[in-house]
């Protein structure tokens, strides 16, 4: 049952997919002392090793999710660092970046240290805090970024809010040059999105809800790309949801701007029609857009413009979402459905190969934020996800390990599911056995 990093694990006969090393082959993987020891054919199990036969399954570097709200401190009724970290491994995610828009916000070295320490105790995914860009997330002056990095921060963001002051955003991109960490931006011109609760378009007109136009997001993406170009700083554009946004990031990359960008599973799959009936579980910011935007975001993921898939996991207690649409908070949970949705919608529909998907869910995000993991190269952290690419399952929010259930994907039939998640050489999550695995053996 419970094992420790001291006990080696030998994963035998799986399809090993490690995009970083260009590996896609039936191989054995040996994990020793919390690190990847060896990949090869017919590896011998060292004494005391736990041998797992994973024939028919995929073995890949653990997934890395660079956009997660763990809500602690201040929102422990929605999620805690412990519950969120366990929900992550249930979704095959071995590393998460925790957003700093907590209460109080993570805007000083002590609070970074708190999140880091709580993450180490959590027995789930590794937790790396992002610090706030501005003190109190007020958008007025920079936080002590250098000290926060020493305390464990891996980047900075005022996520949940944009950095509206262009001058401050410029300073953030410049100051972080000293440390080589990215500034992650929630791109939204608040004056254009004012009062909005969903995408602006026919659906918002029909429902009588205030819309947020694509331009509200795109205006800020344009500004931040220009500032990244001006400063040479590292920009990470969060949750790109519009066609124009994808096009601007693509063009900036072609110009050599140092920018990475993410797409969420929900912006890859849902349109604003999901809001119909005032479904507050489809209330999210940036909002679900139109079909042309969804297609553009998919294309951005396919061609690598959007190099990362991140969930923007945003748990909310059920009675907060149980309100008139205007009054419900933005956000939806994603840790436990991300892999299944992306397998179903991107890999099984032929948009991405499996190695391409793993690159976008593991290697690229790890590289964007300088995180360990994201590869099975010998010597790398033994963060491994074992998945059944063909297992069919139905999303049942009542079975989530997250404390919250606010998903628009309840009842979706997905193909592709996590079997085992290993963090630092220790099995952190094991899916209950089922008939199909037995048959595969």
């Amino acid at each position: 049952m419970a094992n420790s990093a001291e006990r080696p694990i030998l994963l035998k006969g799986g399809r090993v997919v490690d995009p970083a090393g260009g590996v896609d082959a039936i191989l054995d993987v040996l994990l020793v002392g919390g690190r990847v020891a060896e990949l090869g054919h017919g590896l011998e199990a060292p004494p005391g090793a736990e041998v797992r036969v994973v024939a028919g399954l995929v073995v890949c570097p653990g997934l890395v999710d660079v956009h997660v709200h763990l809500r602690e401190p201040g929102g422990e009724h929605k999620e805690t660092i412990a519950s969120g970290s366990r929900a992550a491994v249930a979704g095959g995610i071995t590393t998460v970046c925790a957003m700093p828009n907590t209460d109080p916000p993570v805007d000083d070295p002590a609070s970074v240290g708190y999140v880091r320490a709580a993450g180490l105790r959590a027995a789930g995914a590794r937790v790396y805090p992002l610090g706030a860009v501005s003190v109190g997330r007020q958008g007025e002056r920079l936080t002590e970024m250098g000290e926060m990095i020493e305390a464990g921060a891996v980047g900075f963001t005022d996520d949940g809010s944009p950095v509206s002051d262009g001058g401050l955003m410029r300073l953030a991109l410049e100051y972080t040059l000293a440390f080589g960490v990215p500034v992650a931006s929630h791109c939204e011109d608040r004056t254009l999105a004012k009062g909005g609760v969903m995408n602006e378009g026919l659906v918002s007109t029909r429902l009588g809800l205030v819309g947020m136009p694509n331009a509200a997001e795109e205006a800020m993406i344009a500004r931040d790309l220009l500032l990244a170009e001006l400063t040479g700083g590292r920009l990470h554009v969060q949750h790109v949801s519009t066609r124009g946004g994808v096009e601007m990031v693509r063009a900036a990359k072609q110009r050599g701007v140092r920018v990475t960008a993410e797409a969420t599973p929900h912006h890859l799959t849902l349109t604003d029609e999901a809001v119909d009936g005032y479904n507050s579980n489809a209330k999210v910011n940036p909002p679900l857009r139109r079909a042309a935007d969804v297609a553009a975001v998919r294309q951005g993921v396919v061609d690598g413009t959007l190099d990362c898939i991140a969930t923007d996991h945003a748990p909310h207690h059920y009675d907060e979402k149980e309100a008139a649409f205007d009054d419900a908070p933005f956000g939806l949970v994603g840790l436990e459905t991300s892999l299944g949705i992306c397998m179903t919608e991107l890999v099984h529909k032929g948009l991405l190969t499996l190695p391409e998907l793993i690159a976008r869910m593991s290697h690229n995000p790890a590289r964007a934020f300088g995180l360990p993991g994201g590869t099975l190269a010998p010597g790398a952290a033994a963060d491994v996800t074992v998945l059944d690419p063909d297992e069919e399952w139905v999303v049942d929010p009542t079975r989530f390990l997250s404390k919250s259930r606010n998903t628009p994907f309840g009842g979706w039939r997905l193909r592709g599911r996590v079997r085992t998640t290993v963090v630092g050489g220790v099995v952190a999550f094991e899916q209950a056995p089922h008939a199909e695995v037995a048959r595969a053996r």
Binding site: E200, T205, L207, G208, A323, F325
Partner: protein
């Protein structure tokens, strides 16, 4: 016991978008016999005797609330009015808790007015009582749409082919949306007219024509339904000033006089005289604004009767007693 799910309308009246033309026609036809009740010396029939109705108004309203209350009382229902101010709502109680508490007191119907779009549907999905939307945010105000349609039908004898232009702040208007759904379903031609800052995105997709100059709308229309311009809209910057609004977009006597055919003038109230509509138009011979108010009571009686399980063809009998 009457069934709570009415055979003609379903459990609730949340909007006109999801009603069929036949259902809308049934409500209008049912309203006809109910008109006469309000003309009697003793304005009361026992149609809803023993029914308990809560009028739950989270936003201030005079006309709609009183109209519903008259309709309920003239059908002999027991009514309770809950206004947001001074109730548990201001003490932080959620909408769903308010609803559950009312439900626990065993009520039959709720009439709800709320500032958030979707609030009526939200309530309807969570309580077994019949829910009637008396206006939710900018979404719908179905009984207003119905009474507007009844008034046009009274005046012109038909709805098919009639050209109705909704003039003014369409963006923030639940009245506009209910009118658009109802009128288009019954075969009227519908247009909207207003400054582009007050017209919702992609409104044409609802099957309406769009005018941005009121002169063009008047040239086109048989009926103008003039919407109230709320003062906040000027503060919100949607229009530069009320004076300019009246000058450029106002329904003035001068403009109405240039109409190629006699216009029917409507307004859901309350009016800002001298802003969206001039007094001589509102009070003139083409105005049916007070007919709208009278019809409001009959339409609401019809809705209450049908949701309580009544049949349109029995309305004439029902109003005379058991």
């Amino acid at each position: 016991m009457m069934p709570t799910t009415a055979p003609y309308l379903g459990k609730d009246l949340v909007g006109l978008e999801h009603l069929s033309a036949a259902q809308i026609r049934a409500i209008l036809d049912t309203a006809e016999p109910f008109k006469e009740i309000s003309e009697r010396p003793i304005k009361k029939v026992p149609v809803l005797r023993g029914k308990t109705i809560v009028n739950l108004f989270f936003e201030p309203s005079t006309r709609t609330r009183i109209s519903f209350e008259f309709a309920e009382k003239r059908l002999s229902a027991d009514t309770v009015n809950v206004a947001a101010s001074g109730s548990s709502v201001v003490k932080g109680e959620t909408l769903v808790d308010t609803a559950r508490n009312l439900e626990a007191m065993r009520i039959d119907m709720v009439v709800i007015r709320h500032g958030s779009s979707g609030a009526a549907r939200f309530l309807a999905e969570r309580i077994p009582s019949n829910v009637i939307n008396a206006g939710d945010g900018r979404h719908e105000h179905p009984t207003q749409g119905l009474l507007d349609m009844l008034t046009i039908r009274d005046k012109l004898g038909r709805l098919e082919g009639v050209r109705v232009c909704i003039v003014g702040d369409v963006l923030h208007s639940r009245v506009a949306r209910s009118n658009i759904w109802g009128l288009t379903k019954l075969g009227a031609e519908v247009a909207v007219c207003g400054p582009p800052t007050l017209l919702p995105r992609e409104i044409e997709a609802l099957g309406v024509q769009v005018f941005t100059r009121v002169e063009e709308a008047i040239e086109w229309a048989d009926v103008l339904n003039v919407l109230r311009l709320q003062l906040e809209r000027m503060q919100g910057g949607y229009v530069p000033s009320l004076r300019e609004y009246n000058r450029i977009f106002g329904v003035t006597q001068e403009r109405v006089a240039r109409a190629p055919r006699p216009l029917v003038i409507m307004h859901p109230g309350p009016m800002n005289r001298g802003v969206e509509i001039d007094s001589d138009v509102a009070d003139g011979g083409q105005s049916v604004i007070l007919n709208q108010v009278t019809n409001g009571v009959a339409v609401r009686m019809a809705v209450l009767y049908l949701l309580a399980g009544g049949a349109p063809e029995r309305a004439e009998v029902a109003k005379h007693g058991e």
